[in-house]
Homo-oligomer: 259 residues x 4
């Protein structure tokens, strides 16, 4: 009854003496010749990046690698405390928290931009598109993704740097411009300071680079996986998870625990 | 009673207008200037890599990115099928499987080499050290990590390439030599074909680069996190997880299911 | 500047000779006296269940424990293949896939019912509420959660059993009635066969039991965690993950792999 | 070349109108009739438990459900903070930390007992077996699993309760006796206070119940999955994760952050 479908993948293969990675020969074409960030581009697109693509794509991921003692990093360290045999599971625990609140806003801003410009024609009136976008978010009381930041005020210092790189490498197009206009419009409509933040800039530049919004969270995942390994390495040398646990446990049950 | 300990981290910090990553300024020093792989080195060591370190370290991680439809990759795809809102959780599920059987052998070979050469003095008799190592594994019937491969026979094509790079960049030292001698000795003792495999070569070169064995699994974790994002991207475009599920479920309950 | 907040939890505490769990003494009140399912209720509500609550709540979780070779179960088995040292991580990988597509529909149906009846007054016209609900889902082309099933047609056999239990124990109220009317209305509006499915019935009964929609996914998580341990136990005795891997890998790269 | 193997599972199946769970009819035999803990036994063994098995098995799992603000619970809460759309992923993150340090000791003590008594004949001299076990752990400087506790001194209050239940239900056999003797012997040899702790008692009783050591970590996984859902429910009502994050982040970078 069920119509079986052929299972097919172009990611990689191996034979006794060769290994293929997205059409390249791992040993002859990649190892020692192509950097990790460029192989990431190959994995996602099937091609090696141009120099401009390489600079921008590496920049996006580098921005996401490290942000100090985030909830993800603390969760990874606490996990390692209980399972030091499984650094991989500690990083996995950290990645589980890269959800809608943090990394999801890259996906959200890319989606907002891509849906707004889909079918907007050749020379869209970007200011008007921005106004429509902001109005539709405000109508459902949803937060506009990619703008505002609790710490980085009045501007997020990563954004001008990322947008300058995009300009320098010829990729500051309508997605980036629309992102800026959305922030302006949201500030105007709300009366709040809402600069484009790093995830907004990344969502816009990823859109310029041709990444569908559905895969943009992957930029955070790739960068942060590296950062989480870094936190486990520091945790091994200078452990803090036990102290966090002890303090939390002591304080949390202070009122209910018998003495 | 408990003696509180200061919680301290040098990974990163942020203020309103600046972000620090391991002593560097994210915006001024890293974004657009340093590639993802080199930032990974920074995360692990606190320094940017020399050119030789950069080539070798990127090569180790690149080797781990992609290996086709591994159990990890299939698990990530199946996870995405049920939770397409959480690409991050799908990658996390894949990382959970990078345990002792696969990525753990990098850790295992680095540990074997580092423990064997710790306190072995300035000019160890490497052949003798190798014989002792192999004998001690055989005494407990444990597998020697980092040698042999079910598919890549009689040699693992990644190993000569990785070791050639190590030589070229002045990092083919005692750890690498010992790894080769361990393989020779194991072949002699067992009568089997047991070439140094990729995880053995990576464990040896990581040891040359100064990485403690406890953190060597992180090389696989960083590389494979990227590869798993790649598999999710392909799964979005050309889904196979549902077909794997349907076939498995149909066949698995064939004999016990009423008709 | 930041206003520190007291960290407080009533979940549990321990001293040298006692352990408290949600106000009960673990040793004196729970071990050997209260079953696992009833302790789950205690965890979620802070009270032990009445007999009626116990029967219904256990029934909801039992319904979710096992459903054969689901994507979650296969992912857990594949994870265990690579990390047999971490059964816990294999179960974790399986749970990562209990997202919007599967377990999320319990949450979705509970949310739909609770939002529809919030502020609907003392004696709502349920048929009209159902019509409004279905119309609002259809307006955004969203699937109505909790109805329809690809295999269980024309009815999902779990639903009449669960609803009969709810009636028997005096908990078949407006949420359950509304769920049935939503299904009727959706069938009428779409012309398709859309019976209340198990996740719809669970979402409705959980609402009758007083669980906020936000926590209803937890019913699936608790049940399925047990089922996933069961799958790992079978995998240890009768492994199938390697066969799934081998077949998938062979077929997936058939066309691109050199021979 | 490869010899394909039939994929087979007895866990569950479904047809249009029926669902089978380990040979039982879900709707007719289980829902509303069998409690969650007893279905867990069914999942692991293929049979429903006897009354004695039910009491003991539920007692083991209940012991593991809740232990306050453990590293696992904090990690789950921090994960939920970033990904509130995925309660399942938050629980998964918590389970990742149930590794060798905590839950692994159930596995470790069960393994120790089962390996010590395998082939020990019909009437082993348990005191001598205990002495050999302790000596072999001490010879490799490994910790004997299942004894000693940082908080519960001089005895772990759960152990006498669990062992009393085992006696009451006719399951206090050689595994339990050996566990007690191992603790005595370890105290004698080390001069420290090392009572049988809860994981030691659970490992021993699980062995009496016929569970192979390899699956004993599952008892902790099933219990704790329920406890972690409880913590997320409390986190929703009374959030503490943000406060833990803020305090940790502030303190961790105090010395390195510019002012």
């Amino acid at each position: 009854m069920r119509n079986p479908k052929k299972i097919r993948s172009e990611m990689g293969w191996s034979t006794a003496d060769r290994i293929g990675v997205r059409g390249k020969d791992l040993v002859g074409d990649l190892i020692g010749k192509v950097s990790l960030g460029d192989v990431a581009w190959l994995e996602l697109t099937g091609e090696l990046p141009t120099p401009a693509e390489s600079v921008l794509f590496n920049a996006l991921m580098v921005t996401m690698v490290e942000h100090g003692m985030t909830p993800s990093a603390i969760a990874a360290r606490l996990t390692y405390l209980g399972a030091p045999e499984s650094m991989n599971a500690a990083v996995a625990a950290g990645l589980c928290g890269l959800g809608n609140v943090f990394a999801g806003t890259i996906e959200g801003s890319a989606r907002m931009l891509q849906e707004a410009l889909a079918g907007a024609g050749a020379s869209p009136d970007l200011r008007r598109v921005a106004a429509d976008v902001v109005a539709s978010f405000r109508a459902t009381k949803a937060l506009v993704p990619g703008i505002g930041h609790p710490v980085h005020k009045p501007i997020d210092p990563r954004t001008p740097r990322l947008f300058a790189l995009a300009r320098e490498h010829g990729r500051f197009g309508d997605y980036c411009r629309l992102m800026e206009l959305v922030a302006e419009e949201a500030e105007r409509a709300s009366g709040k300071v809402l600069p484009v933040n790093a995830t907004g800039a990344i969502g816009a530049i990823a859109s310029e680079l041709g990444f569908e919004w559905r895969i943009c969270r992957g930029i955070a995942v790739m960068g942060r996986a590296i950062g989480l390994v870094g936190h486990i390495v520091e945790e091994i040398r200078n452990p803090v998870a036990k102290e966090i646990w002890d303090r939390t446990d002591d304080e949390a049950s202070e009122d209910v625990r018998p003495r």
